[in-house]
């Protein structure tokens, strides 16, 4: 009897997704265990069954249609792939498990989101985290819920924030050690942003870091008057984690109100910043503010990428990010020291960056590049350790901004202006490859409209990306040459992932209301 229990325990433990398994993700390249596959945020797949030689044989293996009944679909999920099962989220805050080889659903979790729950920029969700036998889902009504990965049943639920104040959760949480990190959306509603950690087993909150410091805290002096109370700095894009330094890297959004800078004199820390937080305590180790006193809605809500780089003859533990403000940055990830910052897309707002990385502002104009949606946005970039290149989907688009002072009302939009008056030119986009140590562009692939989808590089020498018009495609990672493309018929507004099921490599991406898995056809 005792032996039977030991066996059962061993089997359960084998099936569980431990923290160690995620740290050692490269030992199981057929799985995708966390938002970016690895904690370093690289969104790189070590699989090479699909490669430059055979990419033209890719075709759809299956299509899964969501039950989404939202108006225009914005299907932003980044699936997890665990031992032959995909775990995805659907609009507004649903989840499903799919057989990864056939796309057939195994269970569904549906959550009623009252229509009055607000989310400025879509009732969306970007995916889940997994740890042990639980999946973690952030919901639009402000909860973090834990689901049984076998049945999809609710195991615990913790209120993260009050949706009546227009806090919502769209971000894929990040599970590490024995905790779940989750951020909030609501930067257009004058929320006070934060990043939370919850006990993975019980849902008890372990720490909270306010991204807008309160009175007496360092950084509060960067907000004139009481403006910190509605300072926003939301945390709606999944961060990265360095297990050696035990630091969490997480970006923060625009200050509130978005466009009315006079309502909040000062640099407005820690909006539009990258934060490095001690995972054990939630205390800040360092911060770097990309856009001090932003008035263009340039959230720094990006997944940062951790890699080691040779910069000016020195090996550096770096964190790299292409920011919405159209500059590509390299920072020392232990100290936050600014190492490099160069533009990767058209920009008219800064003359350049000073030696500390602070922008030197150009003359203020109504028409600004990049526009409010930025030189890039939340969708992921990718880094290939094989080519040493950084891949990112970029946007060439301007906006004419206006200011319209707004009074704060709890739960109401609080933007203080907006975009107006459109220049006649057509915006466009690119997939770009940059050398991370210099920011130099190696190649770019043109797209007729500015993209809303992330990229993934693979050991097959490919970079996968998607377009607004529904084209999903593979580029040669060294040259940008297109090797395969497929018209999916839906807006691609998500990050691709890759996994193995039944010995075959698949690449999957959300498009329209569907999730489509591609594999090599015979």
């Amino acid at each position: 009897m005792r032996l039977w229990w030991a066996l059962a325990a061993a089997c359960a433990a084998w099936g569980q997704v431990s923290f160690e398994r995620i740290v050692d993700a490269d030992k199981e390249p057929g799985n995708w265990l966390t938002y970016s596959r690895t904690y370093d945020g690289q969104r790189f797949s070590p699989l090479n069954q699909i490669n430059r030689q055979n990419a033209d044989r890719l075709g759809a293996a299956w299509i899964y249609q969501t039950w989404n009944t939202e108006g225009r679909p914005r299907f932003e999920t980044s699936p997890l792939a665990v031992d032959g099962i995909l775990y995805i989220t659907e609009q507004p805050s649903d989840a499903a498990a799919l057989d990864a080889a056939t796309g057939r659903p195994l269970w569904k979790y549906r959550r009623h989101i009252p229509p009055e729950v607000q989310a400025c920029c879509g009732r969306v969700n970007r995916g889940m985290a997994i740890l042990g036998d639980l999946l973690y889902l952030g919901t639009l009504d402000g909860y973090l819920v834990a689901l049984d990965r076998i049945t999809g049943r609710l195991r615990w639920s913790a209120q993260v924030a009050d949706s009546k104040l227009a806090y919502s959760i769209t971000v894929a949480p990040l599970a590490l050690k024995a905790m779940v990190i989750v951020g909030v959306s609501g930067g257009e509603y004058g929320i006070r942003g934060f990043l939370d950690a919850y006990d993975a087993t019980t849902g008890r909150r372990l720490w909270r870091f306010w991204t807008v410091p309160g009175p007496g805290e360092q950084g509060n002096e960067s907000w004139g008057g009481d403006s910190w109370k509605t300072g926003s700095a939301a945390t709606w894009a999944t961060g990265a984690y360095d297990p050696d330094l035990n630091l969490i890297y997480w970006g923060t959004g625009n200050p509130g109100p978005d466009y009315d800078g006079e309502a909040r004199p000062g640099d407005n820390l820690y909006s539009c910043s990258l934060l490095a937080l001690d995972a054990a305590t939630g205390k800040k180790r360092w911060h770097f503010q990309f856009t001090p006193h932003d008035t263009h809605d340039w959230d720094a809500n990006h997944t940062p990428i951790l890699t080691d780089l040779e910069i000016a003859g020195r090996r550096r533990k770096a964190v790299i990010v292409a920011n919405r403000n159209s500059f590509f940055y390299v920072l020392d990830r232990a100290t936050g020291e600014f190492l490099l910052g160069v533009p990767f897309a058209r920009q008219t707002w800064a003359k350049g960056l000073d030696p500390k990385g602070r922008p030197v502002l150009a003359e203020t104009k109504e028409l600004v590049y990049p526009g409010l949606h930025g030189g890039t946005n939340w969708f992921s970039a990718s880094f290939s350790p094989l080519t040493g290149l950084f891949y990112v989907a970029t946007r060439e688009e301007g906006t004419r901004f206006y200011v319209a002072p707004t009074r704060y009302r709890p739960g109401a939009l609080f933007t203080g202006g907006g975009p107006a008056g459109i220049p006649a030119e057509e915006p466009e986009g690119y997939i770009q490859a940059l050398e991370p140590a210099t920011g130099k562009q190696r190649w770019k692939f043109p797209m007729p409209t500015p993209p809303w989808a992330g990229v993934m590089s693979t050991a097959g020498g490919l970079v996968f990306a998607g377009s607004n018009e529904g084209a999903f495609f593979a580029l040669h990672d060294q040259t940008g040459q297109p090797l395969w493309h497929y018209q999916t018929g839906g807006w691609i507004n998500a990050n691709p992932v890759s996994y193995v099921a039944g010995g075959k490599q698949y690449v999957t991406v959300a498009s329209g209301r569907a999730l489509i898995a591609f594999t090599l056809l015979q």
Binding site: E397, A404, A424, E426, N468
Partner: protein, 254 residues
């Protein structure tokens, strides 16, 4: 009515009107004209707004925008939207756009001397090169219609792409010129495009779909249009007649 109450009400109404004007100027005038006469967006000084005839519809459209058009969602409160509507309705009673021309003569010019029907559909008849005009009287002012005939390049529809996350169907009549590897040259209106293919309707009304890998050249002719200017080709009186005709085009009754 007590005189004091009456004065107070009048004063409040005037204040509300002012607020409507202020909001309109800030949020709407850019596209709908300083006096609601229409610019890139439709004229709003009309007896009946097509999509927003009722207050409820007006509120919904101003707050949510119109999907697949350049009309963006706004972040105005119900009270603010009502003030804008009140302002517009006051305008509407003051102005009722008419044209000096004769719509019947204009219709004859449209089919005959003007040659407009070769490229524009009205009520199911006409060419497909330019925008359909069956409804144009609902959405354009006399001034804009006149300008479109004199300077067609200046009146091309804007893509308004910066307002829109995605454009399922390009609707800005962009002219594109392509040259294939075989040396074929095609100039046409873009119907659609993705990173790998482009679909055009050429000036002879032929549809083309190209793979970009088969093209050696692809040029966007931004600001160009196959429509000629009617400056000097029609008299002032004839232009007035055409404007009157187009203003009368209100579409098929729903």
């Amino acid at each position: 009515m007590n005189r004091r109450v009456w004065l107070l009400l009048t004063f409040a109404a005037a204040l509300a009107g002012q607020e409507g004007l202020r909001l309109y100027a800030r949020y709407c005038a850019h596209c709908h004209g300083a006096d609601g006469e229409g610019a890139r967006g439709p004229a709003l000084v009309r007896t009946r707004l097509t999509r927003a005839a009722s207050e409820a519809a007006f509120l919904r459209i101003v707050k949510e925008g119109i999907p697949d058009t350049e009309m963006p969602p706004s972040r105005l409160s119900d009270a603010e939207v009502r003030q804008i509507r009140a302002y517009l309705m006051a305008l509407d009673q003051k102005r009722n756009e008419t044209s000096r021309g004769d719509a019947v003569r204009g219709a004859a010019l449209f089919l005959g001397k003007g040659g407009c029907v070769a490229c524009h559909i009205v009520n199911g008849q006409g060419g497909r090169m330019g925008p359909e005009l069956t409804f144009v009287g609902r959405s354009r002012s006399a001034a804009r219609l006149r300008m479109a005939m004199l300077e067609p390049g200046a009146e091309l529809p804007d893509s308004f792409a910066q307002y829109r996350l995605v454009i399922p169907m390009p609707d800005n009549f962009l002219m594109v010129r392509v040259r294939t590897k075989e040396g074929m040259l095609v100039t046409g209106i873009r119907l659609n495009e993705d990173p790998f293919t482009i679909q055009l309707r050429d000036l002879a009304d032929q549809l083309h779909s190209f793979r970009k890998q088969d093209l050696v050249q692809m040029e966007r002719l931004t600001g160009e249009t196959p429509m000629p200017s009617y400056h000097g080709k029609l008299t002032e009186g004839e232009l007035d007649d055409l404007v009157a005709y187009m203003l009368s085009l209100k579409g098929v009754a729903p």
